[in-house]
Structure formats: C-alpha cells, structure tokens
Subunit: 466 residues, 2 copies
Amino acid sequence: VLSLSKFFNPEAVAVIGVSRTPGKLGYEIVKNILQSGYKGKVYPVNPIARKILGLRTYPAISEITQSVDLAVIATRANTTPGLVEDCAKKGIKAVVITTGGFSEIGPVGEELESAISRIVEETGIRIVGPNCVGVFDAKTRVDTIFDPPSRLERPSFGSVAIVAQSATIGAGLMDWMAQQGVGVSKFVNYGNRCDVNETDLLEYLSDDVDTKLITMHIEGLKNGRRFLEIARRVSRIKPVIIMKTGRTEYGAKATLSHSAAIAGSDVIYSTAFRQVGLIRVMTVEEMLDVAKVFAYQSMPRGRGVAIVGNSGGAAIAAADACQDFGLVLVQLADETIKSLEGIFPSHYIIGNPIDLTGDVTASSIAQSLAAVLDDRNVESVILLIQWQVPLLESSVIDIIGKIAASHREKPIVLSAIGGAYVAKSSASLEKKTGIPTYPTPERAVRALHALVQRSEFLRKIGRTSS
Amino acid sequence: VLSLSKFFNPEAVAVIGVSRTPGKLGYEIVKNILQSGYKGKVYPVNPIARKILGLRTYPAISEITQSVDLAVIATRANTTPGLVEDCAKKGIKAVVITTGGFSEIGPVGEELESAISRIVEETGIRIVGPNCVGVFDAKTRVDTIFDPPSRLERPSFGSVAIVAQSATIGAGLMDWMAQQGVGVSKFVNYGNRCDVNETDLLEYLSDDVDTKLITMHIEGLKNGRRFLEIARRVSRIKPVIIMKTGRTEYGAKATLSHSAAIAGSDVIYSTAFRQVGLIRVMTVEEMLDVAKVFAYQSMPRGRGVAIVGNSGGAAIAAADACQDFGLVLVQLADETIKSLEGIFPSHYIIGNPIDLTGDVTASSIAQSLAAVLDDRNVESVILLIQWQVPLLESSVIDIIGKIAASHREKPIVLSAIGGAYVAKSSASLEKKTGIPTYPTPERAVRALHALVQRSEFLRKIGRTSS
C-alpha cells in the first residue's frame, strides 16, 4: 500500500478541467490553492485556454513536462476514467476526483466508478473520491476544496484531523472550527471512496504526528472488520470521535443515493464502536462540542464533578444533565465549604452546585473556582457564567485563566446562555483560557462526559494519559 | 384575584433600594427603565440621596405623593417584609422583589418569605419574586431587569411570551430572541414565587391578545392539579411550550436550594404535560428552536415531509432524524418527479431527499422547492442549504421567500451547517422569508416535529387552526 502523503504534501498539483469561468468548480479550486498559501507548483489543465488566473495552462496532463504529485479532476464524470489513466501514465501517485455522477446516481455511474477502480488495481494510483471536495492540509496549505474561503473559512494549523464521507458535514465542521479558533491538522472528504476509504485514512492519521485527535464522519463502512481492527489500534494511541449517519431505514435509503454506502444495523455499530474505544457522537454540533474539550483539556481522574457559577437555574439544568450522563456531583470537602462560608455573603449557596447568584463578582468566581479545584473530591468542574449581570467585570476572564492554568490536571468546561454579548464573552474566554465554552449546560456536560468515557477507556487498557 | 396587568402596564414605577453606585442592582434597574423607552413615571427610593440618574429620589415609599402602580424592591432580604407593608399602605398593587436570600438559603430566609406571604394574604398586594429579575413588557417597555441592555439585549415587540422560574434560562432565551429578531410580547421571571406563580401567569397570558405563543420554564409546580387544569384550557387557545428542570435527583436537590420548588417525578410530568396539550422541550436551545417555528410557520396537515437541498450528507442526517421523530418521508407524486427530471442534469438525485449536489444554482433550488410544495403528497419541507458552494447566488434568498409566501399552508424549516458566512446567510434568509433556520438538520427536524405534535393535538380536540 502506497502512503497517502502525496495528498497532503505534494510538490506540484495539476488541476484538470479548469474553466475560465469564475464559479465553475475547477476555476475555483485553482483560485483557492493560489490563495491558500500553498508553496508548490500549480498546473491548470484546459484544452483551449493559454492562461487562467495568471498561470500557464496545459492542454493535457501529458503535456506537463515537470513532475506532478497530486492531480485534481473536476471534469464531467464520463471523462474521468480516461483522465485517471493519463495521470497514472504521467506517474502521478495521488488523484482527487471532485466530480459527481458516479455510483450515487445508479448503473451508468457505477460502471464509470468500476472503470476507475480497475485502473487503481492495475496501476497502484490512489484516488480520493469521486463525488467529494478532497483534501486540505493546514500546514502545507494544499487545498482542493472548491468552496471559496470567503464562504468556507480555512482553519489555522492545529491538532484536530477531520475525515468525512459527507462534504457538508466535514466542511461545515471545519468552518465552525476555523470560526472558533480550533486548530486543524488535515481535512479529507472522501465521498464515494472508490479507493481511499475511512480505514486507510484512519490508519494514515494514526501515524501522523501533527494529529492528536481524529474526528470522523461515516455513512457506511467498506470493510467493517478491518475498520474495527484498525480503530482498536488507533484508539490506544489517540482519541477518535465518530459520527455515523444512515442510522435509520430512511437514512440508509438516502445514503444509497448519496455515497452508495451500505448503512448496516445501527445497534451493531454502537456496540462495536464502544468495544474498540471509538467515541460516538450523534450530530455534527456534538462533534464540534466534543472535539473542543479534547483539544483543550486534560483527562479527568474520574466521574466526580463540581458545578460552580452565578446561575442557579443553569446549575439545575447542569445537575440534571450530570445525572443523565452518569456523572457524579461530589460532596465538597469540609475545608472547602468552611473556607468559602468564611468569605461569602449569606445568600450565596455553598454546596454542589455553588450558586453565587445575581450579585456575583469576579473575585467570588475566582475564590470558588480555586476552592473546588483544590478540593480532593473534585475531578472536573462545570462553570456556569451568566455574563449579563451588571457587576461581573471582564477581568474575570484573565483571573479564571490563571486559576485554570495552575490546575491543568482537572478539566473545566463552561456554559453561558444568551445572545451577542454572551457569545463574545464566552469566545474570548475560550480563546484566552482554553476552557471550552458551550451555549447550554447540557452541551457542556455532554462534552465533559465524552472526556470521561475516554479516560475510563484508557484506564481499562492500562494507560493513563493522552 | 386581582389582575396582573399592573406588572406590565403601570403608569408609575417606584424602585426601592437605589444606590448611587453604578453596578448595584437598584441603580441598574432605574437606568434600564429610563433607557428602555418606558413612558410612565419613575420614582427612585433612597434614604439619603437627593437625585439619582437625574431623577428626584424619595426617602421612603410613603413620601411619594403621586400614585404608584408597580414597586421594585432591590434592598437586603431582611428589610423586604417591612417594605412590602409600606407598599400595601401606599396602595401599590404590584411588587417585584429582586432580592435573593429567602427560602432558597434555608430557615432564616423561609421565615422572611412567609412574612411576605402573610402580607399578600392580608392586603391582596401581588408579588413577583423574590429572587428574580421580574418583568419586561416589549410594548409598554416597563423593565425591571437589572442586566444592562448592552449585555442582555431587549427584544422588539412580537407574539412570544416568556415565563421562566430561572432568570438565566428566561433571560438567556430572551437575549437569543432579541439577537435573532424573534418578537416578544411579555417576559416574566418569577423566582421563588411567594405569590404570583406559573399558573397565574399562564392564565393571565392566555387572555393576553398580544401573546400568540407561550414559552415557559419551570423548576416545580406550586399546585400541580390547578396548573394542569389551566394548561388544558390554555392549550386549546394557544400553544404552550414548556421546559422543566429539576428532572433528576441531582436536579431536584439543586432546585431546593435555588427556588425551593419541589421537583416531583419526571415521568409523571411528561405524561401529564402531553395529556393537557403542552409541548415539552428539554433544553433552552430546543425552546428557542421550537418557538421560532411556531412564531413563523403554519400548522402542517400531517407527518409527510420532503427533504430538498444541495447536500446529500445533510439529507441523510435529516432523514435519520425524521425517522427518530416519526415523520414520514413521502413518495413524491409522479408528475413532480417527471417535471424535475425534464429540467435537471443527470447527476442531481430526484427522490426524497432531492439532492442538487455541489453545483446547485438558485434556480434549481427554486424549481425543486416549488415542485415539492405543489406536490399533494408533501405536507412540510425540510430545506438543506450548503451556502458555501461557489455557484449559489445570494439572490436565492428572495426567490425562496417568494415561493414560500405563495405556499403558506405548508411549513418550511431550513438547516445549514457552518461558520460565519453560513450563519449570516441563514439569518438573512430567516429575516426575509420567515423560514426558521437551524445549524443542524437534527435541530430543524426536531422543531418541525413539535409543530406536527401541535397540529395533531388540535385535530384531536377538533380544531384545525392556530
């Protein structure tokens, strides 16, 4: 098996089927590669044009005299088998086929896709696609996605890999991560996967030093047994968060006409995923929520949490969610309670949850957060901030950041409910402190629970970190 | 029982316990009322100061010679029983007690709260609170909330009422509604409800002509049987969406030290709510999602939906969610399929879902949306837009709006996954077309399902509209 590295670190990229018309997919792909910061060569292929976007074009792939590592094909479906053959003859090792109109549309498309698969078998060329947006590497900045960056923001370099069968789900997740400042290592949307599939990508990313966390969306598995074998191995090394759609009869039927994957029974997936240590999420929003806590926080020692905040109402919702997910509201140590009773006014509620009420201040949040983090019974903290109250100074963000930094061994998640000011405050806190923030207590608890699941899996297999 | 109208439409408001220090609750309340557009008189009460925020202050409530309809008390808890007595003597009919430190903190506070309840019984004065932010009326602009509008945006006038036991949940919801342009009629956060409770407010809002939809957060019920009786009556007139926290043992325990409500068994609540026609939601995010579809869309005739969009991946997730919620993906009529096959390229998937793929255009969305809305088998539409694709012109928003406007009898919901450009595009579409938009397909389907539940309830009781 050839390595997939040419997809992510090519020295030269050819784009086949580049129209002179802005908006057409091939044109947009070339434009995006040029804008993305990619340092390698770019060769547009067009039978008529001489220059596109300031680049010399080539009438055919065979006319490019320099060596090419990666080709992107964005022409009509029926031309692709011939073009893949040309790529193989040229010595190209990696091809992204963007075009749709293959197995997802029925027999005619299936035949075209089979023709491509045969070339893969004969030549060893590797294909991502067809029917996909391909790859983005946040370090080399190679970028085969046709969506313009003004519409789909590219993230900064970081530790989270995104592998997605669906472009909408994968690219939507990446767009959110870019917006929220979550760093990404590599992105792959693999569509119909006539060659490179979910298992290949999982295996490849398990060895990728830049990737600390793998997020994965699948519609079906090509070879379930092999996927689970690889997943079991990768899960020991780094966390893998997985979302599977096509869970239901309706979804499975829709899957057949999207990526032509066979969806399979959902209960079997859930059980198998759990057994091999994959962390399953149900929506792309949950994927983002969980990815953030994994990217930013350390593993908790156990299920014991403390809830601290200036909102009794949110604390009740958080307590409900803790019970739903089997997290334990611990009894605070006597010293913790006594020390806080000594400094707080009588209408603050000192217990678990701690409720600092509407006249909270930055210092009462700091005191209670520090106290629960120092408490030996507490293994993680759910912080609930009502940013809207008048007396809460924005200096609280730096104070929380300092306290969190000196207690890295205990994860913290935060929830704050509300509009523009709340979103801005939470985003600022997340950026400055690394505490992941969520718009509801339930989402904060759900994310924390995924971290707990991972820590329990690692203990079960005899590991204690990562 | 006195009407509650003085809380929402007072001709004069006194605020008791107004410090000269910005940030203190009483000061902020006066500041907010002055800024909110309220046209009545405002009398700050402070024993020492002569002027606060440019207003003449009064040393005691009894010193105000003019008549006062509503008083807001923001002093320490132990002073409140005496102040409520002063208010009653002055002839004030409505009092909001903002202050905390009552039954939620234990025996000392319970005694204070009982003292207030006794005054209520003796005098007939009505109290909202204690331990709450009180009321906001979007028409009269009376506003007893201490959170500044720069932090907690006040919404425009509209048809949705918010009743919440928790300030965080109620105010957070209102803040989101303001941000997203959902109009609000009245807001009440009632806290410990030593007098005015959830049932009183529900009954009052059922007769309020400005309110077409009631959203409600409760931690417990004061008198379950009476609440359900009233709820049954109100549900026949207008939809009531309810969120109950304190669902679990942990949550119930936290409730006791927040608003001192007894939480009760959750299964009993669910069953009882359903029987009387209340629509239950589990999180404040779901409350917002559901409120939007009720505020903007009509009742569907049944469970039959069509999924249309340019994202196969999102369509599968939507199809899964439809099955989860028992919505039915209908078979499109032959004419619909034939007419679309005649105009669409072969790689578009025409079925249910309809997948217009990555090279979608405004006109292909318009054609397919119009076709499914005209299809007799289709009773509502889930629209899935991937805004990021290069060829999708923003003119599509107006086109969708026109088509939706001529098919008002069939509800439409929209989902689009992604960052800043996606959020902006969806918000613009929601504002211009009245189609509620959601960040995930699952949330769009969940909201639509609530609408279906309501339409089925109305049919069951022999009504077909509202």
